[in-house]
Amino acid sequence: MRRAILAVLLLLTLTAFGEEPRPNPIDAYLDAYWERNRITPSPAASDHELLRRMTFDVLGRPPKPDEVRGFEKSKDREKKIDELLASDEAAEYFADTWMRTLLNYRFDETAPARMSFPAFRSYLKKVYADDVSYKGFVSQILAETGDYTKKPAVNWVLVTLDPKEPPYELASRATRIFLGRQMQCARCHDHPHEKISQVAVWGMTAFFSGAKAKSRTTFDGFSIKLLDEPAQKVKIPDTETSVEPRFLDGRKPSSLESPRRSFADFVVTSPQFPRAIVNRVWAHFMGRGFVEPLDRFTEMSQPTHPELLATLSDEFVRDGTSLRKLARTILRSRAYQLSSKTVPGAPQTAHACMALKPQDPIQLLNTLKWTLELDVFLKGFYETFIGNKALPESYRNEAVFGVYLQMYAAALLAPTGSAPEEQRYTGTVRLALKLMNSNDLQNLVKAEWGRLKEILAKSASPEDRLTEIFYTLLGRPPSSEERDRYLSYIEKKHEKNAAYEDIYWTLLNSTELAFNH
């Protein structure tokens, strides 16, 4: 009886809040998990730590001092989460992140001529801004037909399509990104550890056999159209076998009229579809996926928290596959809001503290843009890029320029040939040299330049100046120990401006800045 009353009360309390009757499934699961495993999680993150983390994760940049001060006053975490998720900058970061995931791997010098970068980037921004369902987004990317500027979703297939090769790469990339599964092994032979056969791989490839790019020059310019023609058989290389479109599980599509549409339907209705994206989004925010690497779901893979993955996937589907709602659930969880201070003895997989996340190339660029006003510095370079008549028309736009910059940043972080969306910071000497010693950047760590110049102009008090430098670079005030150390450094130095430059340099090169923690 008492229990029933409690239940009713609970229900009433929950419905009183209206729209949010469900408790956070992450908290429910992890609280019990920690208790069961006798783990005491890290304390909650401070407001400063949390704001910097959320700003990096949602907007892809560090927070600015006025934003930090605003949050110090309001302290309203839920309101801040909603604000960040609804902002235009979140759409920009979403677009850049998906450009990276979808395109970079195949990015070569001919890419800008085979697709429209500006149209595709605007499309991705709109997907986020309109909170288009993930299911709808992926269906469009895979199955859309039409002109590359009027139906910009076609650009991914356009740029991944290789006219000289069977469209294996499209099937393989789609399976990897959207289902988190690898087909590479079975390209050449039946997969030994998995139920993916060679025939299944080429059967998946055959769905893209009707993807045809038609380019033509009209009186108002150049246009490329992507068609979805009826599928053909695809020959397995080095064999005499040809295969018709067949799904990974061996089923045949009911119709071969628009094979990419059938492929898209298979992908978005697969039970693996929500799991793969939940894993990807979880890894983005929590620094570690349930399954790692992200595309290593196999019949035998053991997610770190299978129950939680299942719960979040179910909820994601119930919420109409809204990426924004999924992000919100994670951002509001206790685990996300824990301090990053290491909990001795707890494995990383326990999420008992926030994982350190190295900055991705977009975040690194944005950090440099903000702290060093790299924008202003790059403007000259940008203008020669856009205005360079020797470059083909398709290169001379902001979106391509942005990708070049990102590739540059990616090379600084971790020069590697593997899929760039999973590039991890490996501590490169080249980045260290650039940040601490290159004339390019050192010319920007000057009392007469940019942010530091503003800070020195605003106040004459060493303490105010020091505080502002900390807010600008690390999104927090100095600790009392740091304050004393730097104030005595300033005091000791003859050249005051040089002392501030040294401090600015120090924070710019610090480990704390290098990581989103």
Binding site: E165, L356, A411, T416, S418, G427, V429, N439, S510
Partner: protein, 421 residues
Amino acid sequence: MKCPQCSVSRRDFIKIAFGAGAFAFTPRLFLPRLSADEKPAKAKAVILLWMQGGPSQLDTFDPKPGAETGGPFKAIETRIEGATISEHLPRLAKLGDKISLVRTLNSRDPNHDTARYLLHTSYRVDSTVEHPHLGSLVAKELGVSDGGLPGCITVGSDSRVGSGYLTPDYAPLLIEKIDNPLEDLRLARGVNKFRLEDRESLLDKQNESFARDHQDARVEHQHEAYRRALSLIRSSHLKAFDISEENDETQKLYGSSPFGKACLMARRLVEEGVRLVEVTLADWDTHADNFNRSKALMGQLDAGMGGLIDDLSRRGSLKETLVVCMGEFGRTPRVNSNNGRDHFTRAFCAALAGGGIQGGLAVGRTNDLGTEVVERPVSVQDLFVTIYRQLGIDPSKQFTSQTGRPIRVVDGGEPVQELIS
């Protein structure tokens, strides 16, 4: 070839699936590994001349004058047995007793980025494992002197291949500008060594509390990268980058192009203990105007590579320095409507010299049009096995990938016996 994902030989699957008879053309693969071990490894370092873009084999090292695919260039006699090369490589032609050609390299990868990865690692791009740059592996296996220069340096262009599954300290150090190699190594303007010391101690102090609170290998990697960067800035070996220390006569030997200068820099770096220096000559991607562009590039290649071989041999260090010249693939025998040639992977060339490589040979033969290999195909893995063998590195040695998978230096491949002197 083994599947990089799961270490199951592709051949095994083919045999199971189709019977060995269907693949009777691969008997070479079934021969027991020939023993090349009696011949000791001689090379201590590699200079990789990287021809970015994919040079046209028919216009450089495998000319077919008179054939409809041959193009306008003449072929000239060389000191390589029975082989001619393009008239625009006259110095290399005369050095032919020191150089050998492989004319039947082949792959199946026509994309620049992925083929470049293949020709730097001997592995196909694989999103589940990062393979190290050839030079990173050489540095790791042969060792790098303490406090010296990094074991692997790339000059002029980023190969976008890193240290892979090795620790980051073996990552290639990129020198972006040939004309200004010390751009990031020389102290920045306005910073003298005392100021740098001040900054370093501020930074060490600043990093202390973060490192205390965050026990993570990546924090240690970050500190290590800074330590190495600082020791490079302070290194007494930086003069190796300064080619103006060479006399005029030596400088002239390499020609005046940036590529030639970088070749000279590479020689100096190798003498300073660097294990592999990669020098890039870019712009071989001649989809249009192939012949004029190739001719101009050959002028630079002939002087740079010719100068390098001459210089190494008169200094007596050619026998321990392996020079390898190659690109990511070749170009189509067919000339397209823009007077260009497109990507071609069925047959392309590498030129090797020094490091115990037998000179004066042309390995492999293509048909009269250059469209197919007719004799002695050489795989990318074969070439890498040969290179590692010359350095005394066991190509079958196993490492462990980031995800814990065992992975060999090279997967498969046989040494090109003819080349081993």
